[in-house]
Structures are given as structure tokens and as C-alpha cells.
Amino acid sequence: MNLATLRDRAQLAEPRDLLRNPVVLSLLVLLALFAAGNLVAPGFASYGSFVNTLRIAAFLGVIAAGQTIVILGGGEGIDLSVGKIATFSTVVVAQVSQGEDERLLVAIAAAFAYCGLIGLANGIGVAYLRIPPLVMTLGMVGVVTGIIRVYSGGQPEGRAPAVLSQVVNGTALGGVRGSVWIWLVVAVCTIWLLRRTTFGRRVYALGANREAAFLSGINVQRNLVLLYVASSLYAALGGIMLLGFAGAASINLADQYQLISIAAVVIGGTTLAGGIGGYLGTAVGAVVLQTMRNLLIVLDIPAAGRQVVNGVILIVLLSLYGRQRRLRQ
């Protein structure tokens, strides 16, 4: 059985330790945010509003899944290029499909292939050339910006095929939009991947103690490359969904997810040092961040004040669970 699973069970077994569980904590924060929002604007905590929050949070949730995997892998692992890769994916799908339904599958395949190659480059840089992940993926942002420029000529053409928009925005069971269903599938697959597959166990092993992982026969470098490829594939999927939502691509559509995806991971209780955490927390973290954003919109304060409040709430959220241990105390 997986270490993380064992820990989860152990924590859930003790009711008084429940508050220490980051997922429970994030859920409580979420409830508090909805309650606060409902005081300001009655109806904020309604079912419809909640479902709508999920619909938008899905993009962040999917992109942050890749970020979670990279961060869990440890060794200062982080992927600052997810936002730009997701943007590239929107541009590729829009241009390849030209808005035509029959070319959608080819376009999606192209987006996954191109973005996967970028992830491969990230992984090779980190694993074989030993470039620190922060630097490698930061440099990659510049390269992908250039690739987008070359690929689109600065003005992405095409738009989302009608089918894609319908799948992402269409309402299915219980008024829940398609993007939420896609996210649910992605979430279940990711949690399964991390908890029940060899790859998942290796991710935790790499993050917990890379030396020990190597000594127990794990090919450290190859698995590191896989982490970054996985991250870029999640980013590509997030970009595809975002294109379906936005309708048309632009050269910076998904850039905002670069750092907010890391915030979602940390709020969800995954430590940046690696090895501890999981996707469930990140998913809740994504919903928390989106709810916070909605709350700020409802509060209707001017842009300057909104930014300040945004930052302050983010700090409060982070201090609930993102804290490191004190030195020897």
C-alpha cells in the first residue's frame, strides 16, 4: 500500500487530527468563503453559483494537476511553464482546426504532441542537464512565447470548433457543465495514477528521498522526464478546455495560470519540498481560489483594492497550511 494512502487513513481515523488534514482544512475554508459571500450577496452560496464556480475552476484544476505531480516529485521540482504551454495549446487547436468540427481530433492530437515535446525538453533539461527546474521552466516560458509568435504570426487565427464549445460549455446532468465532468474524470484518473500505479508510487518515492529511490532501482532520470511530460500534457488539456470556453485563442489566454497553479497546489497541502500531498487537496485548492475570485467580484471594490484583498486572502490561505516547520523549536 502507498505511503500517502496510509497516512491519509491514519489521519482520518483520529477525529481530533481531522483539522490537520489539509483537504479537510481547505474544505472548511471553502465553506467559510461561501458563507461570507452569501452574507454580502444573498445567493452567492446557491447551488447554481457553486456549479458555476466549479465550471471555471476546472481549467485551473486540470492545469494544477500537472503542477502537483511535478512538485510531488521533489528536488525543488516546479513547472513555471504550464501557463504558457496551455496558451500554446489553445493556439494550436484553434489554428489546426480552423473552427471545423471534423478537424478537432487532429488538432487535439497536435496540441498534445507539441506540448508533450516541450515537456520533454523541460524534463531533459532538468534530469540530464541538471538545470534547476525553476530556471529551466522559466527559460522555457520565453521559448514557448517565441514559438507561439512564430506559429501564429502574433495573431492567432481560427476559433474553437463548435463541438468543443458544446462539450465544454454544454449542460449535462443536474445543470453541471461539461468542463466540470471532464475535470471530474481527470481528477479521478490523477488520483488513481498517483495512488494506485507504479508511476505514482515512484513519484512519491522520488519526492521523499531521491537517493533511496535510486537505490531501490528506480530510474530517477527517466521518471523525472516523465513528470515534466505529464505536466505539459495536463497543461495542454487545460488549454484545450479553455479554448472551448473562450471560443477564440489569443497569445496570452492561459498565462495567468503560471503561478496561481502553484498556489492551488500549496493551499491543497502539498509541500513544495516534494513527497507529501496529493491531488485531492489541489482540486479543493483550485475551487477555493476560484471562489475567492468570485467573492472579490461580488464585493465590487475597485481594481486597486481588489488586488490588495486578493493578495491578503491568498496570504491567509497559505498560512493555514503552507507553513514550514520552525527551526529546532
Binding site: 528536488g75 525543488e76 516546479i78 533539461g125 542537464l129 541538471r130 538545470i131 534547476p132 525553476l134 530556471v135 529551466m136 522559466l138 527559460g139 522555457m140 516560458v141 520565453g142 521559448v143 514557448v144 512565447t145 517565441g146 514559438i147 509568435r149 512564430v150 504570426g153 502574433g154 531521491r210 537517493e211 535510486f214 537505490l215 530517477v220 503561478l259 502553484i262 498556489a263 500549496v266 509541500t271 513544495l272 481594481a303 486597486a304 483594492g305 481588489r306 488586488q307 490588495v308 484583498v309 486578493n310 493578495g311 491578503v312 491568498l314 496570504i315 497559505l318 498560512s319 503552507g322 507553513r323 514550514q324 516547520r325 520552525r326 527551526l327 529546532r328
Partner: protein, 331 residues
């Protein structure tokens, strides 16, 4: 962190690399890159050595140089500040807003205090509240950006301007050397002075091994807070250069400096996990980045390809520097 032994196929390569780099200073790569970019510029650009060109290169380099030196101090102490560019923005809008009523010296002091205060908040969050630096400073960057918008809303009709003395003086020369170059020298000297202080020795100790530094009686939290305060103050100095270069402030500018400052210090050989490196290398890294930009301007590639070449050159520089720090970190 120890890294496992490489498979035998790459051992040969590693040995060759070790031999090549044995006993060299960490800034060897940076100096080599500087010479290479300088040479390339001399070959490609006919007007590279004109007084105007040299003046503008130095004028453009100061904001990033100051911010990157500040970032270096923070990174040496095992931190990182993702809000440092926005601190520069906030400090610049504060300075330009009060320069009219308060006069220049008071305005500069206000800007410096703003930068240091932002750094203090970051430092307290990281060292006392023990938030993880990357996410904590990302969060505070929203606060600074919001405050900057509040102080100087964009699109204001009569935006305040800096006095002409500053703007013209910035592009002037003294003893045949551009004033901006003197400023760069001053920034470098300030680092040399700083480096000799006990505080900086403690910063290196904390960056090298937090636990060991704590055990030997270094007040780790206090040292870390001070690195952020110093970083904020340098960001303020960078903001003055931004103001002098453009004459006015923009509440939305300066954000790009953050990531560029990290790139510069990595190229300059400072280890991202702290404890090794220095601002001398960082300044060289900043010059390398600036020379790469001017090289691109001179080459006049098709506009569409320009950004890609820029990105590839930067990642190449980062990779070369990264190979070095990767080797140092391993084994």
C-alpha cells in the same frame, strides 16, 4: 541533496566536464558568456561602439541590475522574491507622486522606505510566519500591485513627472563615461561593501545550511528578514533608474523585472538553493542579458522569429550556467 550515480555511458562525458571546470570560479561561465556576447555584438553591429549606443545600453541596464542585486542577496539567504519587480513599480509610483510637493531628496527617501517596507513584510512572512517564499511573495505581489494602482491610477490626465535634472542627467556623461555606467559601478561597490559585513557572512551561512547556522548561534530569522529588506531597498534603487530613464512612472510596468532578475543571477553563477554565488556574477548576468537583446536588435531578424531566438539564447545561457551549478550541487 545527493544525486545518484550516473549510468556508465555518461561517465566519460562527466569526467570531461569535471576536468574542464576544475578549480574554476563559478562566474567563469558568466565571464565567458559576457565575452562571447560582447564579441558577437562587435562583429554584427556596426554602431555598437558609438557613444550613443553605449550610453543607452548602460541606461537600460541599471533598473534590472539593481533589482537583480537585491534578488541575489535574498537568494543567497535561501529565499526568493517573486514580488521584487512589483516592489520596484510601487516604489517608483510613490516617488514620482511625492516629488512635486516634497522635493527630490524626500521623494527618493520615500521611495527607498517603500521598498524596504515591502521587503520587511515579505521577510516577516517568510522568516517568522514561515510561509514558503515562492508562494508568499507571489501573494504579496498582488498587494503591491494593488497599492501601486491606488497611488497612481493608470490613465491619469496629468501624470506627475520627474524633474528634468534627473532625466537629462541620467543620459549625460561624466569624465567621458556615461553617468549610468558610474551608477552601475556604485551598485557594484555597494555590493562589495555589503559583502564585507557580518550580516552577509551570516546570509551565506544561512543559505549554506540553515540548521547548522542556527546551531552556531546565527539568528536565522532575523538574517532572512534583513535579506528581504535589503532586496526591497535595491528594488527601490532600481525604480529610481526606471524613473530617470522614462521620466514618469507606470503602475503596470516593472513586473517583468522579477523573472529577468532570477535569470540574471542564475547566469551569474548564484545557486538558487542559496549559500553560493554573489552579486558580481549577477551584474555580469544582467549585462549578458542586455547584450543578447542588443545583439538581436542589430541582427534584425524577421519580427516573428525574434522572440523565439531571444528565448532560445536566454535558455542557452541559463543552461550553460545551470550545468555549472548542477555539477556543484551534485556529489
Amino acid at each position: 541533496m545527493k544525486t545518484p550515480t550516473l549510468p556508465p555511458t555518461t561517465t566519460l562525458l562527466r569526467d570531461a566536464r569535471t576536468w574542464l571546470l576544475q578549480g574554476r570560479l563559478p562566474i567563469t561561465t558568466a565571464i565567458a558568456l559576457l565575452l562571447a556576447t560582447l564579441f558577437a555584438n562587435l562583429v554584427v553591429a556596426d554602431n555598437f561602439l558609438t557613444a550613443f549606443n553605449i550610453r543607452s545600453i548602460f541606461a537600460n541596464v541599471i533598473p534590472l541590475a539593481a533589482v537583480a542585486v537585491g534578488q541575489t542577496v535574498i537568494v543567497l539567504g535561501r529565499g526568493i522574491d517573486l514580488s521584487i519587480g512589483v516592489i520596484a513599480t510601487l516604489s517608483s509610483v510613490v516617488t514620482v507622486s511625492v516629488v512635486e510637493p516634497w522635493g527630490l531628496p524626500a521623494a527618493l527617501l520615500a521611495g527607498l522606505a517603500t521598498g524596504a517596507a515591502c521587503g520587511l513584510v515579505n521577510g516577516l512572512l517568510v522568516a517568522i510566519v514561515r510561509l514558503q517564499p515562492i508562494v508568499a511573495t507571489f501573494a504579496t505581489s498582488f498587494v503591491w500591485a494593488g497599492l501601486a494602482l491606488y497611488v497612481l491610477p493608470p490613465g491619469t490626465a496629468a501624470a506627475p513627472r520627474m524633474p528634468d535634472v534627473i532625466v537629462l542627467g541620467y543620459r549625460d556623461t561624466l569624465l567621458g563615461i556615461p553617468n549610468a555606467a558610474w551608477l552601475l559601478l556604485l551598485i557594484g561597490l555597494s555590493w562589495l561593501v555589503l559583502k564585507r559585513t557580518r550580516l552577509l557572512r551570516h546570509v551565506y551561512a544561512v543559505g549554506g545550511d540553515e540548521q547548522a547556522a542556527f546551531a552556531t548561534g546565527v539568528r536565522v530569522a532575523r538574517v532572512q528578514v534583513l535579506t528581504y529588506v535589503i532586496g526591497g531597498a535595491y528594488a527601490a534603487i532600481g525604480s529610481f533608474a526606471m524613473l530617470a530613464n522614462s521620466g514618469s512612472a507606470d503602475a503596470l510596468a516593472g513586473g517583468g523585472l522579477t523573472l529577468a532578475s532570477i535569470a540574471a543571477l542564475v547566469i551569474g553563477g548564484t545557486r538558487l538553493s542559496g549559500g553560493a554565488g554573489g552579486a558580481g556574477g549577477t551584474i555580469i548576468g544582467v549585462l549578458v542579458l542586455q547584450l543578447l537583446t542588443s545583439l538581436l536588435v542589430a541582427l534584425r531578424p524577421p519580427t516573428d522569429v525574434r522572440q523565439l531566438i531571444d528565448g532560445l539564447l536566454v535558455i542557452l545561457a541559463l543552461a550553460l550556467a545551470g550545468l555549472w551549478s548542477g555539477r556543484r550541487r551534485g556529489r
